[in-house]
Symmetry: C2
DNA sequence: ACCTGAACACCGTTCAAGT
DNA sequence: ACCTGAACACCGTTCAAGT
């Protein structure tokens, strides 16, 4: 088969398969040859639709970020909007943890990433925050959200239990994995709550630096 | 040359060269063959000293984390200790940003990582925080520190300036890169300040959940 | 226009062969 | 014990050849 009259591939099919592969087996498993096999095609065929592998991965990142709900910035107080957006973003990344490293470096040229940055920054500016502070708050939220999505804290203590016996306070660290949700979600919720509450306090004081 | 009477390689030399290579050109550039070349040796020779590439990268992570100052947990109020430790950790990661993805998934079996977890958690327990809350606070700090170290927020808007013209509030986003330090450091400092201040408030209220 | 096989310059890792 | 060359099964990407 050289060229079928009906194209075998489309950008959409490629991105869909890449997203599934990344979700199921991680970024490393998503090689051009492997992805092509998944699509019933040979590796080089993908280059008829995307110039590089990075473009494919970027397109996956785009569809993931597009799932974040940014409609909450309309009709909500900035505090509530920020909280709802952060929870939505957090939930989307929890569902697609393997793509997080790609998002953690910024919006790039991705429309959904830029639309999200615009919505967050615009809402803070409209609420009266200075441009410098609005930028800081936006950055800070990304730090918390991507930092928490990058790797489970609870699952980070997955060595053999005996290892932790050498550390007076860590001797039960291996039990964290069994309470993964309570640990990881609890930490994120605490962080979000602390940040928004204390930002709100400063705002009410009229600091608005 | 088959076997020199004086070994050409040592674990220390390998880790030192790997750290330099990762700092200078990133994790991807640190391949076994490239690293071996840097050491004047052939690729497979490295396997006489480390079982896998992951072990080498882990050893680099260890020496980086070992630079974080955890002595601050002695003789300081928990608030001040947490602040000083976070600043030290942040500064170390800022000096070695390319290794951050390796640390972001937890301490693993690395002595320095475990000693740091022990120091942070122990200090929070000794201050009176419950085990659940101390865990949350520890996780939260890692989220902020690794999240901020993973990628500059300011440099994330590095597309051509025209791209941002389509977004009402982002039209000056390309100027962020010129103020990278003020943006990135300001956001981190703000986050650290907000978190510790608001934790302190809850602590003084006697919540200590 | 779009898919293919062959090729290039890389990977991590294994292993028998050398001293 | 420690370094080597050759090999295996992979990478991302290019390109001439096919329809």
């Amino acid at each position: 088969m050289a060229r079928p009259r009906q194209a075998l591939l489309t950008k959409e099919r490629i991105v869909e398969a890449a997203a599934a592969l990344i979700d199921a087996e991680g970024l490393d498993a998503c090689s051009m040859r492997r992805l092509a096999t998944e699509l019933g095609v040979q590796g080089p065929s993908l280059y008829n639709h995307f110039a590089t592998k990075a473009e494919i991965v970027d397109a996956v990142a785009e569809v993931v970020v597009a799932q974040v709900d940014i409609s909450v910035f309309h009709g909500n107080d900035w505090r509530e909007a920020l909280r709802l957006w952060a929870k939505s973003y957090h939930a989307v990344l929890a569902a697609h943890p393997n793509i997080v490293p790609v998002l953690a470096t910024g919006p790039g040229r991705r429309p959904a990433g830029l639309a999200m940055a615009e919505a967050v920054y615009g809402a803070l500016i409209d609420a009266g925050w200075s441009r410098a502070r609005a930028t800081h708050i936006g950055a800070l939220m990304r730090y918390l959200i991507t930092g928490s999505a990058l790797g489970s804290f609870a699952l980070g203590f997955d060595a053999d239990p005996e290892l932790y016996d050498h550390y007076p306070h860590l001797h039960r660290a291996h039990e964290l994995a069994a309470h993964r949700d309570a640990v990881d979600e609890g930490a994120f919720q605490l962080g979000l709550d602390l940040l928004i509450t204390s930002l709100s306090d400063r705002y009410d004081l009229g600091v608005r630096r």
